[in-house]
Subunit: 415 residues, 2 copies
């Protein structure tokens, strides 16, 4: 039996126990995990040092090494994040519908754990703890398959967490790490119908597309964001400047940052000279359509390909549009259904934008950077779904649950 | 451009219009569809006669021919079903969550159409109308790919329905029929990410498994039912007999009928002789474990394979179990997570069963035959989901929707 099958089978078995635990029993196990991360930090940091040394030998870039690095302070943050999840309400058991039928049948629809969740991700060891905690809190077993660059760290973390769980009601087998870092172990997980109930990929576009294209297990896609901000002539200039600068430059590397700014023509002619200076001060490179380049001498030309690109960087496309309809068409063509914003004082156009844009989150007069489980008040986030089924947008704990109909009768039969 | 791509593209374009229609505008279009099915029944029945003639020439079985056959009365039933769906509430726009954040952001989570739904199904022309109506009512375009045996009927029905829609606010292009009945058109649909948002297969196990195994488009699986009824020693005999007979024999061909009856030992020893006579009168063949065969001389032996089989027929496995734990293990091993029932007067065991069984619907003292959108009071059903994501169990109109977060601010930016 392969490592993947044997660990997924153990996780499935453990899920039947986990499914029955109370919120308190689960929280006690999670708190032991948080404490163990601190108590056993020397082991974890030593293992992390092995990954870092191997990374340096392999010529890994400083920014990737930084994402891989654990420190006592970072471990404390990770442990604190576990404790914060402990404080969130347990979605399992929530009553979603209650129906009493004319024949007397009482039907309840309640949240239940999904079962076994597979997570395929890249080299950030904090994801290991975060994903494990969210899955266990919502009553699910989890099979983690992290990147090879973090294998020593992940192995050490999972060993520490499983030891902690063995002193709790949560079965240690609820938490599994696939250590085979070959491509074959991912391929095997993608086809593991019957043992894995869902796979959530977390990482770059190529990792996600490999999962989406090849999995027969259901997938929750957390995808790319080519997000737009459309500013109308009626917009307040200061608000438009603040929102567009925030959406682009507050943290360009994330999926909810803006890639393209659409400006209605009079607004552009009145304000783009000034607005472009604001972006220049923030070290944002501009790529523009012809009118933009007429107004901003230093802007480079924007190609069709640019409009389709998620830069995740200090680069911004700017395009002048005639009206709302042209903005809607541009977004329908180039958007990735993630987060889209209109800045306007025109309530009718705002409502049309909110209604007609097909995206997980649509904004009127606020930065797209708010598309985030914490900013939405969920207290946690397993990712931002860009698909339309099951969960869309920031996913908190309820996104990690399924439902069950409980039907109680007194002998009813169907006629 | 292939037929599939060109029709799916037209459906996607139409979905942007459909998305904005009011419930009343959609209902007006659906009522025109219902009327047209009656007004144009001669055309439809003539086309149906072509399918029937071809079927007879090909040696199609009488029962399949009967499923294919349309009559004025059946068309009236189909039109009445459309009108019933018109009477159901429109789920689009429903407010699911309302959040006001400390920074003043107002966040609403509302139901929106999914977009374009692909339906792959077999040779029942009533499914053509039913699926089309449910998708349009919930604001979705639909691309139908029916079986070749019903192609003339489906082509005629879709032509009538599209003519009706052309007199309404619903774009006729919301409704598409793939006429290419080769396997290639199914394969093409399964990979049509970006044009189809979801595929719902409706039909036998091999059709569904082909879709699940090969689609890269998200799928809602409507699957097999190996359903159990477990009767404890404390059960009321008359209730246990009525429920188990109903679950097996009221309509054996459907997914929510029972395939295996589990009896606690004392109940079996006290009642199986009598109960088996009831099944014999209903022409149900019994297959049993050793104890069952000791108690019922005419029962055949039940193999492991039998316990895993969805008979959809007048055949029933009967097995004696020691207690609830053995019943739970058997169901965990052989069940398909569809519908499972316990008949007992023991409230504690009933609760354990409802809690621990992993299935779309779990029953205490009622027949599994109630797992059905109409019986649950949803007024419609696009299928019974046996997967855990998005929708589980009977799917009414809300299962055909996604959600969107609408965020309204006054200039908020993220710090």
């Amino acid at each position: 039996m392969s490592e993947v099958i044997s660990k997924a089978s153990a996780a499935k078995q453990a899920a039947t126990v986990l499914n029955r635990l109370t919120a308190q029993e689960k929280n006690e196990g999670l708190l032991l995990m948080a404490d163990a991360l601190i108590a056993e930090q020397d082991r974890i940091l030593k293992a992390n040092e092995e990954d870092l040394a191997r990374g340096r030998d392999n010529g890994t870039s400083p920014s990737l090494l930084d994402r891989l690095r654990l420190t006592p302070a970072r471990l404390q943050d990770i442990a604190d994040a576990v404790k914060m999840i402990v404080g969130l309400p347990d979605p399992v058991g929530d009553l979603l519908e209650s129906i009493e039928r004319p024949n007397g049948l009482k039907i309840e629809k309640r949240r239940v754990p999904i079962g076994v969740i597979g997570i395929i991700y890249e080299a950030r060891p904090n994801v290991t703890v975060d994903a494990a905690t969210l899955c266990l809190k919502s009553g699910n077993s989890v099979v983690l398959r992290g990147g090879s660059a973090a294998l020593s760290s992940n192995r050490s973390i999972i060993s520490v967490l499983r030891e902690a769980l063995s002193r709790s009601a949560i079965p240690a087998d609820s938490l599994q790490l696939i250590e085979d870092s070959g491509r074959g172990s991912v391929d095997e997980m993608l086809k593991l119908n019957g043992l894995l109930d869902v796979i959530i990929p977390r990482g770059g576009a190529s990792l996600i597309q490999n999962v989406v294209q090849n999995a027969t297990v259901p997938v929750i896609e957390t995808g790319a964001g080519v997000c737009h901000t459309y500013v109308e002539n009626t917009a307040d200039y200061a608000m438009a400047e603040a929102i567009s600068l925030n959406a682009k430059a507050q943290r360009p590397s994330v999926c909810n940052s803006m890639e393209t700014l659409l400006l209605q023509e009079s607004f552009a002619r009145a304000h783009l000279a000034k607005l472009s200076e604001t972006f220049r001060e923030a070290k944002v490179e501009l790529k523009g359509c012809d009118i933009v380049r007429e107004l901003v001498a230093w802007a480079n030309p924007a190609t069709e390909q640019d409009f389709a690109t998620e830069y995740n960087d200090y680069i911004l496309n700017v395009k002048v549009v005639k009206d709302l309809d042209e903005a809607l068409s541009h977004i329908a063509r180039f958007g990735t259904k993630h987060s889209e914003c209109i800045v306007t004082e025109d309530a009718i156009n705002a409502e049309r934008f909110l209604q007609e844009i097909d995206a997980a989150a649509v904004y009127h007069n606020a930065s797209t950077r708010f598309t985030d489980g914490f900013e939405f008040g969920f207290g946690a986030e397993i990712g931002i779904s860009t698909q339309k089924l099951h969960a869309r947008g920031p996913m908190g704990l309820p996104a990690l649950t399924s439902t069950k109909y409980r039907v109680v009768g007194t002998g009813q039969i169907r006629s």
